[in-house]
């Protein structure tokens, strides 16, 4: 793609004419250390007080593995659902003018503001077997509350604004002329969306996905109400950590936390690399 010669070794990006590179970098590093690095290294340090054998015993425990699977699996599913419908919501908000658009726009942010416990209780009431929606789904044999499906529902609710708010501004910037150009070249409406618009939105959609996913993995408040919290079945990893803490089993709690941390970090890193790659291509 670019024809820049391969660089030997590491090099700082050339500072611009704007002064303060040293100052701002120094401040950023200090700030990140204070806010993120110190608490996290404390976590690693605590879990390191366990020996390898003990750590491995906790990590390979069926209950831990199931909890991690449920946490990451539901978060992934919910983020995937949000990518589809969040993009759709953003599309409607950007493309169409209809009465009440501003209200819908404001509503998207509600999951940000609402205490997550409130969301969890509200969703549980709705989806419980005797709730408004649960009652309708019951005859179809679909059980939402107190199952992993309920977790997905809660995480979809929590994660929606992340996708909408990252995709929306990029969508607003789409040049109308690009669509017109595609139309004059003979592309149908569907081809314009899939071949021209969507690829341009992909980086923003990936960002929205990773934010919604990360939020879903860490979500606690809303999930514990709707999940039912059955060990091995619908128990999320953050809940397991809290259970261990309540048993004063700090090493076990920190060990699970450390595993979550490592997994999340790897996944976000991958997403970031995909981002960088696509940004390099599309400028």
């Amino acid at each position: 793609m670019t024809t820049a010669p391969a660089q030997a070794g590491w090099r700082f990006r050339q500072p611009s004419v704007i002064p303060g590179f040293g100052l701002t970098l120094g401040f950023s590093l200090a700030y990140l250390t204070l806010i993120i690095l110190i608490p996290l290294s404390g976590l690693i340090w605590r879990s390191a007080s366990l020996g390898w054998a003990e750590f491995w015993a906790i990590a390979s425990d069926r209950r831990t593995i199931n909890a991690l699977e449920i946490s990451f699996g539901t978060a992934f599913l919910a983020a995937a659902v949000n990518v589809v419908f969040g993009t759709l919501v953003a599309w409607v908000l950007v493309r169409y003018r209809f009465p009440g658009r501003r209200i819908v726009d404001a509503m998207v942010d509600l999951p940000f503001a609402l205490p997550t416990a409130v969301a969890g209780i509200a969703l549980t009431t709705l989806y419980a077997p005797n709730g408004w929606i649960g009652k309708l789904l019951m005859p179809l044999g679909i059980k939402v509350a107190y199952t992993p499906l309920g977790i997905v529902v809660a995480l979809v609710f929590i994660g929606l604004p992340f996708v909408v708010r990252t995709v929306q501004p990029i969508m607003e910037e789409i040049d109308k002329e690009v669509e017109e150009a595609a139309a004059t070249l003979g592309a149908s409406r569907f081809q314009i969306i899939t071949r021209v618009l969507f690829p341009g939105l992909a980086p923003a959609i990936i960002t929205g996905f990773s934010l919604a996913f990360a939020r879903g993995v860490g979500e606690y408040g809303s999930v514990i109400f709707i999940a039912g919290n059955l060990p091995y079945k619908s128990e999320i990893a953050p809940l397991l950590i809290v259970i261990r803490l309540e048993e004063y089993n700090y090493p076990a709690a920190t060990a699970i936390a450390a595993i979550m941390l490592a997994l999340s970090f790897v996944m976000l890193l991958v997403v970031n690399l995909v981002q960088t790659w696509s940004r390099k291509r599309y400028g």
Partner: protein
Amino acid sequence: MEVRVANVRKEFERFPALHDVSLDIKSGELIALLGPSGSGKTTLLRLIAGLERPTRGRIFFGDEDASQKSIQERNVGFVFQHYALFRHMTVADNIGFGLKVRNGASRPPAAEIRRRASELLDLVQLSGLEKRYPAQLSGGQRQRVALARAMAIEPKVLLLDEPFGALDAQVRRELRRWLREIHDRTGHTTVFVTHDQEEALELADRVVVMSQGRIEQVGTADDIYDTPNSPFVYGFIGESSSLPVKVENGEIWLADRPIGLSAPHAPEGEATLYFRPHDVELLDGCSGCIAGTVAASRRVAGTRRVELEIGGERQRVEIELPVGHPAAQKSRVAFRPGRWKLFPAA
């Protein structure tokens, strides 16, 4: 392909952008739509492309009524001022896009599309840039890719909306010459919009001068420049000076003096005299001429532009003198326009 615009009217939310416009474009012609902003030139171009639908009237491609066809069916090549390239596609993919979105049997095989893309890149003199992304090209290169993309679908007409508007002067001149060459080589019927008269006059076979949603004049560069048919065209194309005059008994009078020009067919009464500042005959004495005191004198490139105050009303007109002409030193200059035109006072 011949294009015929028949009595087209276009309104945007009740506001008319075009009033009853008709225009015949011959096959293979290079036509410029020229006018100030808001004159409706871009609207007319977009109507031909199908990007807008006429409020009234019809547009024909050959004998076919194109106004009933969608943009996709019209098969026009459209080039936008700001290129409108697909950022996430390589240059080759951009050019091949119009062929790739065809369905079924009309879509050429991939290898054929690739071959066609590189052929067009040769034509627009960008060979070897197939793998680049638009972000890695300069403005002039992007516009050439946009043109290649538009030509890839073998359009019936090529429509360009201020194609050089976003480029700097140097690149503009270069691309102008190059577009003319491409047109001569490929023979596409081409319509381009511009507000730059130099561009229109230099490039086009015929120029369509537009103002306030109407066509003022259609003609070759010579027609438009030498025989403008309205005060607007006189004022808009090239330099012009004007004076309020009166017609009496076939003679033109400025205030209370005849200026030595006769207009036997002009209607009696108030009128405005238009002439080109460089097309004047300087006189010594003055019985039947326009005379004025020099109010200002500026050197402009190869000539000297002199501003004169005429008569009691102190009407100002500009004329051009050769540098070093003795008249420039005098405080009073007398002249008579060479080629001129009278329009009845509005």
